[in-house]
Subunit: 143 residues, 2 copies
Protein backbone atom coordinates (compact mmCIF):
# COMPACT_ATOMS: atom_id res chain seq x y z
CA UNK A 1 0.00 0.00 0.00
CA UNK A 2 0.99 3.62 -0.52
CA UNK A 3 3.09 4.55 2.55
CA UNK A 4 1.59 8.03 2.72
CA UNK A 5 -1.92 6.59 2.81
CA UNK A 6 -0.70 4.34 5.63
CA UNK A 7 0.45 7.43 7.54
CA UNK A 8 -2.95 9.04 6.99
CA UNK A 9 -4.63 5.86 8.27
CA UNK A 10 -2.39 5.97 11.37
CA UNK A 11 -3.63 9.52 11.99
CA UNK A 12 -7.25 8.38 11.55
CA UNK A 13 -6.71 5.59 14.09
CA UNK A 14 -5.23 8.07 16.59
CA UNK A 15 -8.40 10.11 16.21
CA UNK A 16 -10.55 7.07 16.85
CA UNK A 17 -8.56 6.18 19.98
CA UNK A 18 -9.13 9.71 21.27
CA UNK A 19 -12.88 9.23 20.84
CA UNK A 20 -13.04 11.18 17.61
CA UNK A 21 -13.98 10.69 13.96
CA UNK A 22 -11.46 8.42 12.16
CA UNK A 23 -10.23 10.62 9.32
CA UNK A 24 -6.53 11.32 8.86
CA UNK A 25 -4.45 13.39 6.48
CA UNK A 26 -0.82 14.04 5.58
CA UNK A 27 0.80 16.70 3.39
CA UNK A 28 3.74 15.52 1.30
CA UNK A 29 6.44 17.46 -0.54
CA UNK A 30 9.42 15.93 -2.32
CA UNK A 31 8.65 12.49 -0.94
CA UNK A 32 8.56 13.72 2.69
CA UNK A 33 5.64 14.25 5.05
CA UNK A 34 5.66 17.93 6.05
CA UNK A 35 2.32 18.01 7.91
CA UNK A 36 -0.11 15.56 9.50
CA UNK A 37 -3.40 15.71 11.32
CA UNK A 38 -6.68 14.05 12.12
CA UNK A 39 -10.23 15.15 12.68
CA UNK A 40 -10.67 16.66 16.16
CA UNK A 41 -14.25 17.98 16.09
CA UNK A 42 -15.19 15.87 19.09
CA UNK A 43 -11.89 16.14 21.00
CA UNK A 44 -11.65 19.96 20.73
CA UNK A 45 -15.33 20.78 20.21
CA UNK A 46 -14.11 22.43 17.01
CA UNK A 47 -16.29 22.17 13.89
CA UNK A 48 -13.40 23.41 11.70
CA UNK A 49 -10.97 20.72 12.86
CA UNK A 50 -11.36 18.48 9.83
CA UNK A 51 -8.37 16.20 9.23
CA UNK A 52 -7.07 18.12 6.20
CA UNK A 53 -7.40 21.50 7.97
CA UNK A 54 -5.51 20.13 10.98
CA UNK A 55 -2.85 18.73 8.65
CA UNK A 56 -2.39 22.04 6.80
CA UNK A 57 -2.29 23.89 10.13
CA UNK A 58 0.36 21.47 11.41
CA UNK A 59 2.49 22.01 8.28
CA UNK A 60 2.64 25.71 9.16
CA UNK A 61 3.42 28.66 6.90
CA UNK A 62 5.17 26.75 4.12
CA UNK A 63 4.68 29.44 1.49
CA UNK A 64 4.04 27.86 -1.88
CA UNK A 65 1.89 24.70 -2.09
CA UNK A 66 2.56 24.01 -5.79
CA UNK A 67 4.72 20.95 -5.16
CA UNK A 68 2.63 19.46 -2.36
CA UNK A 69 0.32 16.44 -2.40
CA UNK A 70 -2.50 16.21 0.12
CA UNK A 71 -3.50 12.72 1.28
CA UNK A 72 -6.68 12.04 3.18
CA UNK A 73 -8.30 8.77 4.21
CA UNK A 74 -11.61 10.22 2.93
CA UNK A 75 -12.48 12.38 -0.08
CA UNK A 76 -12.25 16.02 1.12
CA UNK A 77 -15.48 17.95 1.76
CA UNK A 78 -16.08 21.49 0.46
CA UNK A 79 -14.30 23.08 3.45
CA UNK A 80 -11.11 21.10 2.87
CA UNK A 81 -11.42 21.22 -0.92
CA UNK A 82 -11.75 25.01 -0.56
CA UNK A 83 -8.37 25.06 1.19
CA UNK A 84 -6.90 22.93 -1.60
CA UNK A 85 -8.19 25.29 -4.31
CA UNK A 86 -7.33 28.52 -2.45
CA UNK A 87 -3.75 27.52 -1.66
CA UNK A 88 -3.04 25.91 -5.03
CA UNK A 89 -2.46 22.31 -3.95
CA UNK A 90 -2.37 20.50 -7.30
CA UNK A 91 -2.76 16.86 -6.26
CA UNK A 92 -5.15 15.21 -3.80
CA UNK A 93 -5.06 11.48 -3.06
CA UNK A 94 -8.06 10.12 -1.17
CA UNK A 95 -8.34 6.74 0.53
CA UNK A 96 -11.95 6.39 -0.51
CA UNK A 97 -15.15 8.14 -1.58
CA UNK A 98 -17.61 5.28 -1.01
CA UNK A 99 -18.89 6.48 2.37
CA UNK A 100 -18.82 10.19 1.38
CA UNK A 101 -18.43 11.48 -2.16
CA UNK A 102 -16.88 14.79 -1.05
CA UNK A 103 -16.16 17.75 -3.29
CA UNK A 104 -14.35 15.86 -6.03
CA UNK A 105 -16.14 17.70 -8.86
CA UNK A 106 -15.37 21.11 -7.36
CA UNK A 107 -11.66 20.25 -7.07
CA UNK A 108 -11.42 18.83 -10.59
CA UNK A 109 -13.25 21.84 -12.08
CA UNK A 110 -10.58 23.97 -10.45
CA UNK A 111 -7.73 22.01 -12.02
CA UNK A 112 -6.84 19.78 -9.07
CA UNK A 113 -5.73 16.24 -9.94
CA UNK A 114 -7.76 13.95 -7.66
CA UNK A 115 -6.96 10.26 -7.26
CA UNK A 116 -9.29 7.89 -5.41
CA UNK A 117 -7.52 4.79 -4.04
CA UNK A 118 -10.77 2.99 -3.12
CA UNK A 119 -8.96 1.45 -0.17
CA UNK A 120 -10.79 -1.30 1.73
CA UNK A 121 -9.38 -0.41 5.15
CA UNK A 122 -10.43 3.24 4.78
CA UNK A 123 -13.91 2.23 3.64
CA UNK A 124 -14.42 -0.24 6.49
CA UNK A 125 -13.11 2.21 9.11
CA UNK A 126 -15.59 4.93 8.08
CA UNK A 127 -18.49 2.50 7.54
CA UNK A 128 -18.10 1.22 11.07
CA UNK A 129 -17.91 4.72 12.55
CA UNK A 130 -20.94 5.98 10.63
CA UNK A 131 -22.99 2.94 11.69
CA UNK A 132 -22.04 3.42 15.34
CA UNK A 133 -22.20 7.25 15.48
CA UNK A 134 -24.43 8.50 12.66
CA UNK A 135 -25.27 11.77 14.48
CA UNK A 136 -21.59 12.73 14.98
CA UNK A 137 -20.83 12.00 11.36
CA UNK A 138 -23.81 13.99 10.06
CA UNK A 139 -22.82 16.93 12.22
CA UNK A 140 -19.28 16.78 10.85
CA UNK A 141 -20.43 17.28 7.27
CA UNK A 142 -23.30 19.64 8.04
CA UNK A 143 -25.88 17.07 6.96
Amino acid sequence: MDNFLLAAIEEAKMGLEEGGIPIGSVLVRGGTIIGRGHNRRVQHSDPMAHAEIECLRNAGRIGNYGETVLYSTLMPCHLCAGAVVQFGIKTVIAGESVTFEGAVDFMRKNGVSVKDLNDTECIEMMKRFIEEHPEVWNEDIGA
Copy 2:
Protein backbone atom coordinates in the same frame (compact mmCIF):
# COMPACT_ATOMS: atom_id res chain seq x y z
CA MET B 1 -23.86 51.27 9.65
CA ASP B 2 -24.86 47.63 10.15
CA ASN B 3 -23.97 46.82 13.78
CA PHE B 4 -22.78 43.33 12.90
CA LEU B 5 -20.40 44.73 10.30
CA LEU B 6 -19.14 47.07 13.01
CA ALA B 7 -18.45 44.07 15.25
CA ALA B 8 -16.54 42.39 12.40
CA ILE B 9 -14.53 45.60 11.90
CA GLU B 10 -13.71 45.62 15.64
CA GLU B 11 -12.36 42.08 15.24
CA ALA B 12 -10.29 43.15 12.22
CA LYS B 13 -8.81 46.02 14.23
CA MET B 14 -7.90 43.65 17.08
CA GLY B 15 -6.03 41.55 14.53
CA LEU B 16 -4.16 44.58 13.26
CA GLU B 17 -3.19 45.61 16.80
CA GLU B 18 -1.79 42.10 17.35
CA GLY B 19 0.41 42.52 14.27
CA GLY B 20 -1.87 40.46 12.03
CA ILE B 21 -3.97 40.83 8.89
CA PRO B 22 -7.02 43.08 9.49
CA ILE B 23 -9.91 40.79 8.59
CA GLY B 24 -12.73 40.14 11.05
CA SER B 25 -15.85 38.03 11.08
CA VAL B 26 -18.95 37.40 13.20
CA LEU B 27 -21.61 34.68 13.03
CA VAL B 28 -25.14 35.83 13.78
CA ARG B 29 -28.28 33.85 14.64
CA GLY B 30 -31.62 35.36 15.61
CA GLY B 31 -30.13 38.84 15.84
CA THR B 32 -27.36 37.75 18.24
CA ILE B 33 -23.66 37.26 17.67
CA ILE B 34 -22.85 33.60 18.46
CA GLY B 35 -19.24 33.55 17.23
CA ARG B 36 -16.47 36.00 16.39
CA GLY B 37 -12.91 35.87 15.16
CA HIS B 38 -10.16 37.52 13.20
CA ASN B 39 -7.35 36.37 10.97
CA ARG B 40 -4.45 34.98 13.02
CA ARG B 41 -2.10 33.60 10.35
CA VAL B 42 0.74 35.80 11.58
CA GLN B 43 -0.04 35.63 15.32
CA HIS B 44 -0.34 31.81 15.44
CA SER B 45 1.75 30.92 12.38
CA ASP B 46 -1.42 29.20 11.22
CA PRO B 47 -2.30 29.30 7.51
CA MET B 48 -5.84 28.04 8.23
CA ALA B 49 -6.63 30.81 10.73
CA HIS B 50 -8.67 32.94 8.35
CA ALA B 51 -11.15 35.24 10.09
CA GLU B 52 -14.24 33.24 9.10
CA ILE B 53 -12.66 29.92 10.14
CA GLU B 54 -11.69 31.42 13.52
CA CYS B 55 -15.21 32.77 13.89
CA LEU B 56 -16.85 29.41 13.12
CA ARG B 57 -14.41 27.68 15.46
CA ASN B 58 -15.26 30.17 18.22
CA ALA B 59 -19.01 29.55 17.73
CA GLY B 60 -18.40 25.88 18.55
CA ARG B 61 -20.55 22.88 17.72
CA ILE B 62 -23.83 24.70 17.10
CA GLY B 63 -25.39 21.92 15.06
CA ASN B 64 -27.51 23.40 12.29
CA TYR B 65 -26.29 26.53 10.44
CA GLY B 66 -29.48 27.08 8.45
CA GLU B 67 -30.52 30.20 10.40
CA THR B 68 -27.07 31.76 10.65
CA VAL B 69 -25.61 34.74 8.81
CA LEU B 70 -21.84 35.02 8.38
CA TYR B 71 -20.37 38.52 8.30
CA SER B 72 -16.84 39.22 7.17
CA THR B 73 -15.05 42.51 6.54
CA LEU B 74 -13.77 40.97 3.28
CA MET B 75 -15.39 38.70 0.70
CA PRO B 76 -14.60 35.11 1.78
CA CYS B 77 -11.94 33.16 -0.13
CA HIS B 78 -12.45 29.56 -1.32
CA LEU B 79 -11.38 28.09 2.04
CA CYS B 80 -13.97 30.10 3.97
CA ALA B 81 -16.58 29.85 1.22
CA GLY B 82 -16.04 26.08 1.33
CA ALA B 83 -16.99 26.13 5.02
CA VAL B 84 -20.09 28.19 4.18
CA VAL B 85 -21.20 25.72 1.50
CA GLN B 86 -20.35 22.57 3.48
CA PHE B 87 -22.17 23.64 6.63
CA GLY B 88 -25.16 25.15 4.86
CA ILE B 89 -24.80 28.81 5.90
CA LYS B 90 -27.37 30.49 3.68
CA THR B 91 -26.40 34.15 3.94
CA VAL B 92 -23.01 35.86 3.77
CA ILE B 93 -22.57 39.61 4.21
CA ALA B 94 -19.19 40.99 3.18
CA GLY B 95 -17.79 44.41 3.99
CA GLU B 96 -16.16 44.67 0.59
CA SER B 97 -14.80 42.85 -2.45
CA VAL B 98 -12.76 45.69 -3.98
CA THR B 99 -9.38 44.59 -2.63
CA PHE B 100 -10.11 40.85 -3.13
CA GLU B 101 -12.99 39.44 -5.15
CA GLY B 102 -13.13 36.19 -3.16
CA ALA B 103 -15.23 33.17 -4.02
CA VAL B 104 -18.50 35.00 -4.57
CA ASP B 105 -19.39 33.04 -7.73
CA PHE B 106 -18.74 29.70 -6.04
CA MET B 107 -21.00 30.62 -3.11
CA ARG B 108 -23.82 31.93 -5.33
CA LYS B 109 -23.65 28.84 -7.57
CA ASN B 110 -24.19 26.80 -4.42
CA GLY B 111 -27.29 28.74 -3.42
CA VAL B 112 -25.73 31.09 -0.87
CA SER B 113 -27.18 34.62 -0.74
CA VAL B 114 -24.16 36.95 -0.80
CA LYS B 115 -24.45 40.66 -0.04
CA ASP B 116 -21.56 43.06 -0.63
CA LEU B 117 -21.78 46.22 1.50
CA ASN B 118 -18.95 48.01 -0.36
CA ASP B 119 -17.98 49.68 2.90
CA THR B 120 -15.39 52.45 2.71
CA GLU B 121 -13.77 51.69 6.08
CA CYS B 122 -13.29 48.01 5.17
CA ILE B 123 -11.83 48.94 1.79
CA GLU B 124 -9.40 51.50 3.22
CA MET B 125 -8.30 49.15 6.03
CA MET B 126 -7.35 46.37 3.58
CA LYS B 127 -5.86 48.73 0.98
CA ARG B 128 -3.51 50.14 3.59
CA PHE B 129 -2.48 46.69 4.84
CA ILE B 130 -1.88 45.32 1.33
CA GLU B 131 0.24 48.37 0.42
CA GLU B 132 2.33 48.03 3.56
CA HIS B 133 2.60 44.19 3.68
CA PRO B 134 2.02 42.80 0.18
CA GLU B 135 3.99 39.60 0.89
CA VAL B 136 1.92 38.71 3.98
CA TRP B 137 -1.30 39.33 2.10
CA ASN B 138 -0.25 37.26 -0.92
CA GLU B 139 0.75 34.40 1.37
CA ASP B 140 -2.64 34.56 3.08
CA ILE B 141 -4.53 33.92 -0.15
CA GLY B 142 -1.99 31.54 -1.68
CA ALA B 143 -1.11 34.03 -4.43
